[in-house]
């Protein structure tokens, strides 16, 4: 096992940031750690890395207990932190070289790895730039390069796409999948469910310092009651009897906003026909109809009773 965390507890004064947090990460997977702001993702990562003191729990990486001077473990771990961590006074090249140099002493090897990292994040045209002169997206890419240049077996990325435009974001996500294909195990934290759905082979959903659900995208969605969302555009919504719709069998919820009726039905219970019949009886004309599969937000909503994004 690459990471094995048991019963991790971390308090900040009265606040319990991690409340018996458990996590197992297998070799070769991309684990998405999804949770709203303040749910404890960064705290969990920092504890796992032995940066933060914690009150309780055991942490093993590569089947060995993790500690600040477990250099054998650290050599094979790469971290991309939530905050961009680079030296303002060093150029793109020098930054990558410096951080790579903390892991790899041999100059020849290092030169090769740095060049590969620069290629990987596509910063070839910017190697002489100072961080101040880089756009937000480029800076994020530099941050990633600094964390992975030494080609670690385990890569932990803490919200590496915050404040990045969609184009760069896709580049980064594809890059992460590429690293994974090259053999790295990945932990990826985010509060964007779309990102996690897109790249993670397994997803852990976190709230209030705990993992509240875990599994593949499909497994998670099977765990909940609600199935697809049916969206109907109503041309004369004022004639709608919302309560009658809700009373139909297998309907979990129905909401009307302006002309948009959203009906959530139980999983595998497609009620579209019944709904359409009912609307026809009420003489309600329908514009567009489309249906969406459930999202991780539904999973989160059903378990915690609140939205993932507020």
């Amino acid at each position: 096992m690459v990471i094995n965390v048991k019963n991790l507890v971390k308090r900040y004064g009265d606040l319990i940031a991690l409340d018996h947090f458990n996590l197992e990460v297998q070799e070769g997977e991309i684990l998405g750690l999804l949770g709203p702001n303040g749910s404890g993702k960064t705290t969990a990562i920092n504890c796992i890395l032995s940066l933060l003191k914690y009150d309780k729990g055991t942490i093993e990486i590569f089947d060995q207990p993790m500690s600040p001077d477990a250099y054998d473990i650290k050599r094979d771990v790469g971290i991309v932190m939530q905050n961009v961590a680079v030296f303002e006074e060093l150029t793109v090249y020098e930054n990558i070289d410096y951080f790579c140099g903390l892991y790899i002493a041999d100059r020849q090897t290092r030169k090769k790895r740095v060049a590969e990292a620069i290629d990987f994040v596509g910063l070839n045209d910017f190697i002489k730039f100072f961080p101040k002169k880089l756009s937000g997206g480029l800076l994020r890419r530099l941050n990633i390069a600094c964390g992975i240049a030494h080609q670690p077996k385990l890569i932990i990325l803490d919200e590496p796409t915050v404040a990045v435009d969609p184009q760069s974001r896709n580049n980064i996500l594809e890059g992460i999948q590429k690293l994974n294909r090259q053999g790295a195990t990945i932990i990826y934290t985010s509060h964007y469910m779309e990102e996690v759905e897109q790249i993670a082979s397994r997803i852990a959903i976190m709230d209030k310092g705990k993992i509240i659900a875990m599994g593949t995208n499909e497994e998670l969605k099977k765990k909940i009651k609600s199935g697809e969302h049916i969206n109907l555009e109503l041309l004369n919504p004022e004639d709608l009897d919302l309560e009658a719709i809700k009373a139909l069998p297998h309907i979990i919820s129905a909401e009307l906003t302006d002309h948009q009726l959203v009906v959530k039905s139980g999983r595998d219970k497609n009620n579209l026909i019944a709904i359409l019949d009912h609307l026809k009886d009420q003489n309600i004309a329908i514009g567009k109809i489309y249906s969406e599969p459930p999202t991780l937000n539904d999973v989160f909503l059903e378990i915690t009773g609140k939205e993932l994004r507020d």
Binding site: L51, K53, D69, D72, R75, V77, F87, L102
Partner: protein
């Protein structure tokens, strides 16, 4: 690892424009300003010798060595030989800074304390020290006189004359440059602070990266501190070269001691900055603020802005004078400047070394902790 980090830290410091301004350019600018503002003063009026009276009595006649010693310092003192009553009157009129009287021990009478009084006392201390040696030698070994053993000691006048002659001519301007150098030494704190911030995960994001690397943090830190000290010493060297070479200020043949003071002072500054950053858990801006405020307070108490402050502190709260690194640095310069013996100088240097050890030890114990309670 050590050299690798050292080279990169040199780069980082040299490219930090703000830092380079305050630790290098600013002192050079101040030196230039001092020179512009003060050059008129010295050319117009010579160094004002310390006016001092010596009471003529039998005991004075019995101590010809003293008179000779005093004559050897005519660069420093304007001496009048008077009666006791006259001396008293002169002192009350502030015509003299103090008077010296044998009754039968050597006494200095002053009515205030200040720079001039310290200069006179320094001379008397010097004199007493070597005459005490003579007395001891004579009582313990009466034949010494005949054997000429005492010759070296009793040729006191020569010794004093030689030393004062070889010292640079007393020039009050030099003092301003000494305080400036002391300030620059303490500004080394900015460098020490920068290095601690760069390596502590709770002070900077890059610090977190360094803590996560498979390298010994203390090794990295030692190499960073060495880089900071290297730059600081290079900056002082440039400042000294500028003051001597461009501004033409002469420090005489005390240069070796000045260099020693600069090295020790710089280490005090650099370790002080590291100490501040390791004990106060706040952002870099706040730490810099604290560093500037404490350095300026120390400099103020050491008399950098108001020369008499140094004497007020030394006489009223002497312990504060010894606990103030800025005061110790300026004091060691004063000691070089005014005293022929180096006792005071080395006392100051030793105390500064004490500070370096304390600052380093505390920094070490904080940095040695490997996990953080909060980031």
């Amino acid at each position: 690892m050590f050299l690798f980090n050292y080279r990169y830290r040199l780069k980082c410091i040299l490219r930090d424009r703000q830092l380079m301004f305050w630790t290098l350019l600013f002192p050079i600018l101040l030196a230039t300003l001092f020179n512009l503002a003060l050059s008129n003063i010295t050319t117009a009026e010579e160094f004002i010798k310390v006016p001092v009276a010596v009471v003529e009595n039998d005991q004075l006649d019995a101590n010809p060595a003293f008179t000779t010693a005093l004559e050897g310092t005519d660069e420093l003192f304007a001496v009048q030989y008077t009666t006791r009553a006259e001396a008293e009157a002169l002192l009350n009129d502030n015509q003299i800074s103090g008077y010296i009287v044998f009754e039968p021990d050597l006494n200095l009478v002053v009515n205030q304390s200040g720079l001039n009084q310290t200069i006179i006392r320094g001379f008397l201390d010097d004199f007493l020290q070597s005459s005490a040696t003579i007395v001891t030698v004579i009582t313990e070994n009466p034949t010494a006189l005949d054997n000429g053993i005492v010759a070296g000691v009793s040729s006191r006048s020569e010794y004093l004359t030689e030393v004062s002659a070889s010292q640079s001519n007393p020039d009050p301007i030099v003092n301003y440059f000494y305080t400036l150098i002391a300030m620059t030494c303490l500004y080394g704190g900015f460098l020490g602070l920068k290095e601690v911030v760069a390596i502590q995960a709770d002070l900077s994001d890059v610090g977190a990266r360094i803590n996560l690397a498979p390298t010994n943090k203390l090794t990295v830190f030692m190499s960073s501190m060495l880089a900071a000290t290297t730059i600081q010493l290079a900056e002082l060297l440039i400042l000294l070269a500028f003051i001597i070479g461009v501004l033409g200020i002469s420090f005489g043949n005390q240069l070796g001691y000045i260099a020693l003071t600069c090295v020790i002072g710089s280490l005090t500054g650099v370790t002080f900055g590291a100490f501040i950053a390791s004990v106060i858990k706040k952002g870099e801006g706040f730490l810099t603020g604290i560093l500037i405020a404490s350095t300026m307070t120390m400099c103020f108490l050491a008399g950098m802005m108001y020369a008499d402050m140094k004497y007020i502190v030394t006489t009223k709260i002497p312990i504060l004078a010894y606990l103030n690194p800025a005061n110790l640095i300026t004091d060691s310069f004063y000691a070089l400047y005014y005293y022929t013996s180096h006792t005071q100088f080395f006392t100051d240097i030793l105390l500064l070394c004490g500070f370096i050890i304390v600052f380093s030890a505390i920094t070490y114990f904080v940095l040695r902790r490997q996990k953080y309670a909060s980031l």
